[in-house]
């Protein structure tokens, strides 16, 4: 875990927006691809969790973007090399954008987001929306992996099989994932009510929040 992960959520979010704008202003693929590669390298250097999974998804995204843009541009009569250059530029933009927000999402726990929002004295509704928006995807992704482990533990061979079988088994995870998503939503709603979350009241936080957000409580100077 890099110290960068403890950066204040809003600093990360603001930086991600700024870099995303740079990616979208890149004039062509000669600038766009190196910039996207630089962003990916940043993710690797800062040891963002589960980067392998993201790279697989990004690879698929790149392929889909290039293919769809190529078809579109070729149908409009643009020369293949020119079409490829445009498609590569678009793919680079998307990779850079998704990578930047993947960094924000993976390195910001819902607790750290709650703390940053509370310290900024944001309205409770904004606090809640931001925490859930950036927190729920990793939660569901972890759940998806846990269900895969459960399938393996019941004898379902999901690793050493054809792509189609893998896909079928992945779809079988949909039912428990849906159930779990509903349970998670219920647990969040239940705990918000039980623990006094009120949209009309601004929260406080136990964390020390500045440029960095205190990740855990330490016992160097115990009270008792």
């Amino acid at each position: 875990m890099s110290r960068l992960h403890d950066l204040n959520f809003f600093v990360k979010l603001g930086t991600a927006f700024a870099l995303m704008i740079v990616a979208w202003l890149a004039p062509d693929w000669r600038w766009g691809i190196p910039f996207a590669a630089l962003v990916l390298a940043l993710l690797w250097v800062t040891r963002v969790p589960k980067l392998g999974g993201y790279l697989k998804g990004a690879g698929l995204l790149t392929l889909m973007v290039i293919v769809s843009w190529m078809i579109n541009l070729l149908l409009q009569g643009i020369a293949p090399l020119d079409a490829l250059a445009i498609a590569a530029k678009m793919a680079a933009r998307l990779v850079a954008t998704t990578a930047l927000f993947y960094f924000v999402m993976e390195t910001s726990t819902p607790g750290a987001i709650l703390a940053a929002c509370s310290a900024a004295r944001l309205p409770a509704v904004a606090t809640l929306v931001l925490s859930l928006l950036f927190g729920i995807i990793p939660m569901l992704r972890d759940e998806f992996e846990r269900i895969a482990d459960a399938q393996r533990a019941r004898g379902m061979e999901i690793d050493d099989v054809s792509f189609l079988k893998k896909l079928r088994f992945a779809l079988a995870r949909g039912v428990p994932l849906l159930v779990q998503a509903i349970r998670t939503a219920h647990a969040i709603s239940f705990s918000l009510t039980l623990y006094g979350f009120d949209l009309s009241r601004k929260r406080t936080t136990w964390r020390d929040v500045g440029l960095m957000v205190e990740p855990r409580m330490t016992w160097k100077d115990p009270i008792r």
């Binding site: 990793p138 533990a153 019941r154 918000l192 406080t204």
Partner: protein, 501 residues
């Protein structure tokens, strides 16, 4: 009265209400234990006493009144109510989401705009008091069931409630954690005026409760003193519960058969903060006909052992053999054809649309041949074949787990903390499962913190601690071993049971 329930009738829309005309009163300083079998209505009653029903979870039939210091909990403003009532649900997961330990404990205070220094001081106090400091910074969803429960308890105590309502708080706790829970409840007496606890086993919480009410057949008994009731075996049996001080029985005697599982020098990649592997040089065998009771502190490595054997966790060194064949290189799925896994929460491993499909799938993965309906009926699920597994109660899902494990024909079953064994009907189902497995030359690894259960049904005891197995041998001798003494836990059934062994 601090808490008064008057003629409560509660139901979920079926013709018969779950609970009829329940009446109880709790004076300030009162500590009440409510016991009943699974499905008797304890959870519904606890939710109602806490005001969760009807404030958060409305139900079809709610008659009568619950008053907190004379005020109707159904009409109090939610925030005012839940700042005066601390509640720990039966399933701690129902009130947790992906926050850190400190976040969860601080959550009620932060939401009520308590100043930061005060929040920090309170969180520190509770984490030290409940010995949770080792968990600082951990995300609660990565904790064990017992650890999660202690965190939720800390959150319930955070806002210094007048009334604390705990629904089966000892579930998943090892004996040391149960003692910490009792200590915390004693210390909470300074701030918490009344405590109501629902449990199936009264023995663990007897030191911190004074009175008892039993639920059976939709009726709540009158409140009576707890101490004399503990020796009244008939009282508990009538309520469908295992008597807390039941006499010792004979331990099952077996002659173990061939070796089904052999683990040698197992070392995990997963390491503790000190860098020491969670399991380091662990040896274990399991033979046909055995029920191996596996015990150890919360976090000792029992789950890691199970996951390593199943192939769900990477192993740094060591050998694992299943049925005499080296299995280190096998995929999890291949190992699972030899090992059926029944987790504490079956929701984790269900993924079909009907109970019958779950059993059929289990059978197709192994060597089972019995028809689905027969297996389901054996475990109390006759006629439920077409029910969606997620629509079953947690208890029924546990029964389905046993049915699937048996149907799979797997030589070994790993049963992790079988909660259904805490009442008479559930214990009978578990004993049916164990009897059938062992009589067919199969074996069971039973992981549990319920030492009485282990004492009753295990044929051998293995204690996990310090990364290996410091004791592996006969059950009776295990309770008197140096390794068990080092845990500082009371032996099950006390000394009387030991001499019977």
């Amino acid at each position: 009265m601090l808490l008064a329930a008057d003629k409560l009738t509660l139901g979920f829309g079926t013709s018969e209400p779950l609970l009829r005309d329940a009446t109880l009163a709790l004076a300030p300083g009162g500590r009440l234990l409510v016991c009943g079998a699974t499905g008797s209505g304890k959870t519904t009653l606890m939710m109602t006493l806490a005001g969760v029903i009807p404030q958060i979870t409305p139900i079809a039939r709610y008659e009568g009144r619950v008053a907190l210091n004379g005020e109707d909990v159904a009409t109090l403003l939610r925030d005012a109510l839940f700042s005066r009532v601390g509640y720990v649900a039966q399933s701690a997961e129902d009130q947790l989401w992906d926050l850190s330990v400190e976040d969860i404990i601080a959550f009620p205070l932060e939401n009520r705009a308590t100043p930061r220094d005060e929040v920090r001081a309170r969180v520190r106090y509770l984490m030290e008091d409940l010995e949770l400091t080792e968990l600082a910074g951990r995300r609660v969803l990565t904790l064990s069931g017992g650890e999660r429960r202690m965190v939720v308890l800390a959150a319930a105590l955070a806002s210094r409630p007048e009334l604390l309502v705990l629904d089966e708080p000892t579930t998943g706790l090892d004996p040391a954690a149960r003692e910490r829970l009792c200590r915390a409840l004693e210390q909470a007496a300074e701030h918490v005026s009344g405590v109501v606890i629902a449990e199936q086993d009264p023995a663990h919480l007897a030191p911190v409760t004074q009175s008892l009410a039993l639920i059976a057949e939709g009726t709540l008994s009158a409140v009576t003193p707890l101490a004399p009731a503990l020796d009244d075996a008939a009282l508990w049996t009538r309520a469908g519960l295992l008597p807390p001080r039941k006499p010792s029985g004979l331990r099952p005697a077996v002659t173990p058969g061939r070796e089904l599982l052999r683990v040698r020098g197992l070392q995990t990649r997963l390491a503790r903060a000190s860098g020491k592997p969670v399991l380091d040089g662990l040896d274990l065998t399991l033979r046909a006909g055995e029920v191996l009771g596996v015990i150890g502190r919360n976090g000792a490595g029992k789950t890691t052992l199970m996951k390593s054997v199943l192939g769900l966790m990477p192993v740094a060194a060591g050998e694992i053999a299943l049925d005499g064949q080296a299995a280190q290189g096998w995929t999890t799925a291949r190992r699972a054809r030899h090992i059926a896994y029944v987790p504490q929460s079956m929701r984790q491993i269900l993924f079909h649309m009907t109970a019958a499909e779950e059993v059929a799938f289990a059978r197709s993965m192994g060597e089972g041949h019995e028809d689905t309906e027969t297996v389901l009926a054996r475990y109390g699920l006759g006629g439920q074949g077409e029910t969606n597994p997620f629509a079953l109660s947690a208890r029924q899902q546990g029964q389905l787990g046993l049915a699937c494990a048996e149907a799979s024909g797997a030589a070994i079953a790993i049963v992790d903390e079988p909660l259904l064994a805490r009442d008479l009907a559930g214990r009978a189902l578990l004993e049916t499962f164990l009897g059938r497995m062992t009589s067919q030359g199969r074996a069971v690894m039973l992981i549990s913190h319920d030492l009485e259960l282990v004492d009753d049904v295990a044929t051998r005891l293995a204690l996990v601690g310090e990364g290996h197995i410091p004791y592996d041998g006969p059950v009776g001798e295990g309770w008197q071993s140096r390794a068990f003494a080092a845990l500082g836990w009371p032996a099950p059934y006390g000394t009387a049971r030991e001499s019977a062994a």
